[in-house]
Symmetry: C2
Subunit: 404 residues, 2 copies
């Protein structure tokens, strides 16, 4: 008996059936933080910068000392000194004087503006001519403009991008709290499967799912434990799934395309915990089983590589993201369909496509092929989904493509 759920129902079920784990935090050095999931808000403990700072090469002044000056009537201010990069400005700026300051240099106390070099002239007699008045705050980054103590720099749940690493560096966060990577056990089943480095004999094919799923999971930031190819033998499969569940945070079994093994996977999951759904109303991808042992997901993926790929991409990754507390926002790109696509399955239909930049914008070329052919996915740039209640889309239709 299949308890088939729609894709939306599956995604709603995930946060109901699984809880975000609170035991996953670890600390990594800054140079390993990119791509990791921030597990705590990062707050600044200091001011950045910790001093008033010039954004140009020029002369630090009190703006009021330059009011009214012009090319014709420059303000003439005695040069009271020079600030050097990487040093503090020791003395306060005396009213009616100026101090040379480089880009990034510290402003002396009392200065509130910097006049760019271009609008000044060094008369060589110890005075500087200023041809353009400064305004308070002009060309100055004030202490704490970027960061002040207590400011939240980055929020937990964010996957750290390179520029986030820059912000962490700026505030001196060199031990970064991140979510520990989830360990996912990957099992392939099927008497017909041989490893990719073996030449298939009669009736045999190479195992595509284990290398593909492993690459997908690692790309997502998970660790993979590979349990190899298990024969269509319920006892052996049970033993392997139980071992994987002990050793991992989640278990994916793909294959079991023969009737007996399909039933076996379902029965094993049931005995290990609970089956949450049996079947998702998408094409490809229907014969999917989702279960749990405690808070550990146990997933039976279809044997067809394309179906296995999309179920993993659309449901397993969000599930792992939920376990980790990850912000899983996804974006799509707008494209026009190059040709019509039929759909009339009572199931949401996923179609891989190639994308081509044209003068009229992005063109999506659907990749047609028989079900289950991996080359339908190879070379695809993305995919689009036709909802279950839609009978198809005409050529030229505006679609939203999820990038792969």
């Amino acid at each position: 008996m299949l308890t088939v759920k729609t894709p939306e129902e599956v995604l709603r079920l995930v946060p109901e059936a699984f809880s975000t784990r609170t035991d996953l935090t670890e600390t990594v050095p800054l140079n390993e933080a990119a791509g990791r999931l921030l597990s705590e808000d990062v707050c600044a403990a200091e001011y950045v910068p910790d001093f008033d700072r010039s954004t140009v090469d020029g002369y630090a002044v009190r703006a009021s000392d330059t009011f009214g000056c012009s090319d014709a009537i420059p303000a003439i201010l005695p040069l009271a000194g020079e600030v050097r990069m990487g040093e503090g400005a020791d003395a306060a700026l005396k009213p009616g004087t100026c101090v040379a300051v480089p880009t990034g240099g510290a402003l002396p106390r009392g200065a509130d503006s910097v006049i760019m070099l271009e609008y000044t002239e060094d008369y060589g007699d110890g005075t500087i001519g200023i041809f353009k008045p400064g305004a308070p705050g002009m060309h100055v980054i004030f202490r704490g403009d970027d960061v002040h103590p207590g400011k939240v720099i980055l929020q937990k749940g964010r996957t750290l991008l390179p520029q986030d690493v820059g912000a962490l560096a700026a505030v001196g966060c060199t031990a970064v709290p991140v979510a520990r990577t989830l360990r996912v056990g990957v099992i392939s089943t099927g008497d017909e499967l041989v490893p990719p480095d073996v030449t298939p004999g009669p009736g045999q094919v190479r195992d595509v799912n284990a290398p593909m799923l492993t690459a997908l999971l690692r790309n997502f930031g998970a660790d993979c434990a590979e349990y190899g190819i298990v024969r269509d033998d319920a006892a052996l499969l049970r033993e392997t799934m139980e071992r994987a569940a002990r050793e991992c945070d989640a278990v994916l079994v793909s294959g079991g395309s023969s009737v007996g093994v399909k039933d076996a996977v379902c029965g094993i999951i049931e005995s290990m915990g609970e089956v949450l759904l049996h079947g998702i109303a998408i094409k490809p991808g229907k014969p999917t089983i989702l279960g749990r042992a405690g808070n550990k997901p146990l997933v039976g993926l279809p044997g067809h590589p394309v179906a296995a790929y999309f179920v993993a991409r659309l449901f397993v990754l969000p599930l792992l993201g939920h376990l980790m507390g990850r912000d899983m926002r996804e974006y799509t790109v707008a494209a026009r369909l190059s040709e019509s696509v039929n759909a009339n399955h009572g199931r949401a239909q996923i179609t891989p496509c190639r994308l081509r930049h044209t003068a009229e914008g992005l063109l999506a070329e659907p990749i047609r092929s028989k079900s289950g052919l991996i080359t339908q996915l190879a070379g695809a740039d993305g995919f689009f989904i036709i909802p279950r209640d839609c009978e198809g889309l005409p050529a030229g239709a505006a679609i939203q493509v999820t990038l792969q």
Copy 2:
């Protein structure tokens, strides 16, 4: 003297000034191929599958033996055997008989169609009732349907995605020809800089650019050699840049924000080879120097982290991609602007933004801040560019956002 170029001119200059390297090929095992750049077309040497294969559980037949059958008048065919998963179908299918075959199993010679189990009945007397006629090719993947010898599976220049790894597995390509990773030397200059793990003294700030650029480059698939922070000393900087150029495929120097060092970087690049441009008409990012020593790029990036980030993101990555022969297509997402943004600089203006899903689509919230503040980038989801000839955009304007 700045020779300022527009962003478009810079991107046109890259393929003119640098040639794609042909010496970069290496071979990696399949499980390390994801994310790498394919350096040769991959052609299949075999048929996949290498046998006619059923896509359902059912009975392999000659379709013509079932023509005209129905629920009322089933075709009754003697069961001539059973194909087991992972084994060849030894005997040919005799006309007027059928053979049980599982999903993924091999079809016996002579069979051209599979009748799904649902439309059959096993009468228990050695015969099978068929209630729905088959059509030739129905529920069959024929030998080579997925792949035939000589078919190009993946084209060189592609960055391998998880599903591409699946396709490589399918054809037994377990030693994958990829472009060797480029080694990029990263140097920070500035008397004001201290490493991120040091608390800045008066007039000092932490070095943001080295960790940020290193993360960006590694995320792109490059190796980084870090040469640390070099004081504002032309001789020391020259020595470090020359060493980096010997040891790396490209060199990035960021900083040199004081006038003397700016000039020093330019002079050093000139003496090592040639300065190609000095200044890009973007904001932030103008004070950029691009040069070369032979075919090795030498880049002087701005000291401001936000400017350094965008110059690296928009120009250095495409340059490295060109050296590697990488397909560098980029996609943008459509969004509406949440508030007006001014721009009137005679330079293309880059504005980081946050993205929010709303009922009316994606909303882009520009992140405003003073120039050069790294927290403008922290937490950003993407950025958009206002062309140099545009004075700004009103709230609600349709924009294209590049994701970060």
